[in-house]
Symmetry: C2
Subunit: 179 residues, 2 copies
Amino acid sequence: MSDPTEARRTAHRRVYEGKVLSLDVDEVEEPGGVKATREVVRHAGSVATLAVDDRGRALLVRQFRYAVGQAVWELPAGRRDGGEAPEAGARRELIEETGVVAAHMELLAEFFTTPGFCDERMWLFRASGLTLGIAQPEADERIEMRWFTPAEVDAALADGTVREGKTLVALLMEQRRRD
Amino acid sequence: MSDPTEARRTAHRRVYEGKVLSLDVDEVEEPGGVKATREVVRHAGSVATLAVDDRGRALLVRQFRYAVGQAVWELPAGRRDGGEAPEAGARRELIEETGVVAAHMELLAEFFTTPGFCDERMWLFRASGLTLGIAQPEADERIEMRWFTPAEVDAALADGTVREGKTLVALLMEQRRRD
């Protein structure tokens, strides 16, 4: 099979345009001749940070996520603001949600979260050389933070305490780094 | 902080109801007293399978993903059909997309892909004891498949060939299992 390259859009309807996301319903002809209606969530992209302190502890935050009806342990993360560089966005979200300032930021991975129906791109960083400050959460955020030792990270992965995509990716990468 | 538990929905609007997803815009009062408008993508949930053969090779598929405008290497995966059990759905998608039948299926992880704005739940399986058959893709699917040796998996993770959430989770878990 030749490399698929581009799609041809034959019709476009923006069904919704919101604060966090927009929704398009497009008629397309894709590489290989596939004709289909595609429902696509458009998203500005996200940044997330695995902050690791000098004792190897990982910083996670927990907040209520209305979409899934429960509180979820996650990396500090958020949407990119406009044309903001991913690293700058990750630093901003880390400070806002946890008050932590990082001397060093390393890009761990860049990936699509759910390319089947959404264009969200995720930039995942690892932060070290940490200084603790004061969190500045947004008006609609209530955030609990906790430092997980390496043994606690292992347990949280094994028992399902951590069950969110980007956070699994980052903690699995950190486990491998430790081994 | 006490454990956040439930949200109170004070208004609800279904903006779109489609084939793959629906979109709600809800006014809510969340645990901790946060009042907010939440845009939520509703999704039936997904199943995905890391199939590993007797030589330790992992099976990935590549298809054009309109949402991100490019072809993406991923685990064989798909939406759950109605009340279908996750393992049955994973077996069905594996056969449809690759023709592979698995003697053994193991649940690797269950997680939320993007709980900030979507309720999609992902069930991730590892398949072994594989028998090769004939793929039966759906009308709107054009799927290329390839077996990655452990060294090729390591390279694909390192060089960004694999850049999709669930696939990163599964391959990182497989690397750890190998180590």
